[in-house]
Subunit: 424 residues, 2 copies
């Protein structure tokens, strides 16, 4: 874990995996084949890539029931509580249609409508997280999306992890399909005999999924392409080194390319955290991943002043930011870029991963400069509403026509003037 | 102008120009060179593509003054009124930071911050519209964006159209740079000696601009890539054929690939509009463009019933939709997808292009299924706020730890449990 200066920050930046030219071509070919041959292609690729021979690729009620029975009842309760917290938070994000009226009878406004159909990609294997189901499906449900389908790659046994199925069922999503990779993205975007096409695709995936999402973007909408996870901790003498270290490691265990950075003005905290990180690291089950991440992308940046520390934090625009200082709210007010901000000693980052309520789909790789967490807003779209009154048009027709002509658009001017007949 | 059935709709669909492989490579090369050589590359390409030898590529106050003097005072007043209307509408779109509190002291919320720096691309030549300046800059200003710069290609004489400069000056934007194409997009995204990099780039442009925006996307944010303009008119016997025809032509004059479609249940209106379109077409200055557009992408769809007509409208998801029927508001309530909806006989589409207030940057090519007009929201981003109380963590620590372990993330569980020391 390097102790570095603010000016070395750029050495930590990792870009999103863009894939190789060969991977891109392979993804394009798969998409084309699914477009042409539908279900049959999806099945062929599922056999080829997942080693599973799937006859019926929609999950049946029996499979849902089996998953439910296999899961500990106590855990189902925790899932239910987490889902309720997530729903409650996202309900506050709901936006409504609005309009304003003028005395002349003109009405201007904005109509908000849900996207009609959304597909959620849930990764397979060890990264098959029930929390991914919650974080993508719940905001879509709160937005009012009518049709939500989940795709997720099956294991060799043709099964989908029980946690994912239970999470889906708790939310009432009964369209879950066993397919992954570019073939699943293509099926969502263009439809097959079994799946009707959706309008938007969200959810994380490997490089093939990311490339496929980029490829279908425009025909459907997609969420952001996520890079490796990141945490920045802004801490002072009030922070406990063991807690900060544990939080840094919780990001490091995600991925060897995850980045965990402490920014502090307190040199003794810096030393304490470094010692604690290596001490705690030793006993982690995901030791190899966490160690690689800490060695390569872990850092402690010691700043001379609080303003310098805050500038550093803003430069990083981290996905997760913890503020463990004397006045965390005051410091938060000065943070301009971060995906999620965790305040005070009890807001350990994993609190937000599953349970508190805010979304865990967050902008990575510094994109918090211009991107936001996944919100209900990502599942609605707006239409402008313009109802001009006769009086308003009569008053403004000449101005609008003149503006049109100055932009060289005569037919625009004439469209306005065609109404003049009415008040002649 | 074809009279067609709803089932023929797909024949009207045009996709966004993706450019050729050669164009893509050329754009990649230009971006790379601007990244490496900054101002010098921008100047070289401006000479090569725009034929202008630019010494100082930032517009000077003298040039602003000259532009202002060259414009009719009456037009300046119209511009000011339009800007005020646009600002007033967009101010209603402002979103605020919010939080909720729990009795145990937990605070959850969402902080809204403006994007720090935005670059607006304004096309050159005959498409150099003051309204483009307004529609991109005003929402950014309302969002609170601190640094806004405009780039626009100069003419051979090294000058920028007066209307664009006056519009910029009316809004207080004094950073206007003479550069266009991929070189301007690269300068905005990566910065040069003269321009500091921005975080988001908006505004329309030709295929090179669109390709360059796609290329830099991820390093900065971009707005949507717009396809050719579209209008759909839903009209019944209450509509006047001449007015509908004039409105259809106002879209057709934009571009030979623009699409203008009437959807109606009234056969005599259909006939009347067709006749009026060809009659009005003859005297248009942009006859060739409008004629090509009407012939190729103009259509009249006669439906048997109102529900069928509304289904057709929803399938089209048009950029502009006019509803000229007996009960336009009731019909609007049943429209799920459209960029902007113009209600009643006085809401001719050009009313919205410049003057009424809503944005004219709208989703094209059916993307209104999942995209929105440009709004103030496009110039802010959100950060989740999580301040967990001691009491909340104490109550939920075991659940969160259990959830973490079920997802296979031990370090997450330990981060939570590291706080247990505090209440031992």
């Amino acid at each position: 874990m390097k102790i570095m200066k603010r000016s070395d920050l750029s050495s930590l930046r990792r870009s999103v995996d863009q894939g190789t030219e060969e991977q891109r071509r392979s993804v394009q070919r798969i998409i084309q084949e699914v477009k042409e041959n539908g279900d049959q292609s999806v099945k062929t690729y599922t056999e080829q890539f997942d080693g599973a021979d799937i006859v019926n690729w929609r999950v049946t009620q029996d499979e849902f029931d089996e998953a439910y029975m296999s899961i500990d009842g106590g855990f189902v309760e925790i899932l239910e509580e987490a889902a309720a917290n997530i729903r409650s938070f996202h309900e506050k994000q709901r936006t409504t249609s609005w309009f304003e009226t003028s005395e002349d009878g003109t009405i201007l406004g904005q109509k908000v409508t849900p996207i009609a159909a959304v597909g959620v990609y849930v990764p397979g294997g060890t990264a098959a997280y029930p929390s991914s189901v919650f974080m993508n499906v719940i905001p879509a449900q709160v937005a009012g999306v009518k049709r939500i389908v989940i795709v997720t790659p099956p294991g060799k046994d043709g099964k989908v992890p029980a946690g994912v199925l239970v999470a889906a069922q708790l939310l009432g999503v009964d369209h879950v399909y066993k397919a992954g990779g570019a073939q699943a993205i293509a099926a969502l975007a263009y439809g097959t005999e079994t799946i009707a096409p959706v309008d938007k695709i969200t959810g994380p995936g490997n490089v093939y999924v990311a490339l496929a999402k980029r490829e279908v973007f425009g025909d459907v909408d997609i969420d952001m392409i996520a890079g490796p996870s990141e945490i920045a901790v802004l801490a002072d003498h009030t922070a406990k080194a063991e807690e900060v270290a544990a939080d840094l490691l919780s990001q490091a265990e995600h991925d060897a390319r995850s980045s965990s950075v402490l920014v502090t003005t307190d040199e003794s905290l810096a030393e304490g955290v470094r010692t604690a990180v290596y001490e705690q690291l030793r006993s982690l089950p995901r030791y190899n991943i966490a160690k690689a991440s800490i060695d390569e992308y872990g850092a402690i940046i010691v700043c001379d002043t609080k303003p310098e520390a805050l500038d550093t934090i803003n430069e990083m625009a981290a996905e997760h930011l913890e503020i463990v200082t004397e006045n965390p709210f005051q410091d938060m007010a000065q943070v301009n870029h971060a995906g999620a901000i965790f305040l005070g000693p009890y807001s350990s980052e994993p609190v937000g991963d599953y349970f508190a309520g805010p979304n865990h789909v967050l902008p990575t790789s510094g994109t918090a400069r211009f991107s936001s967490p996944l919100t209900v807003d990502d599942f609605v779209k707006k239409s402008s509403i313009i109802s001009y009154s006769e009086q308003a048009l009569q008053k403004n027709a000449d101005k609008i026509a003149q503006f049109s002509r100055l932009e060289g658009l005569e037919a625009h001017a004439r469209a306005i003037e065609s109404r003049k007949e009415r008040w002649k």
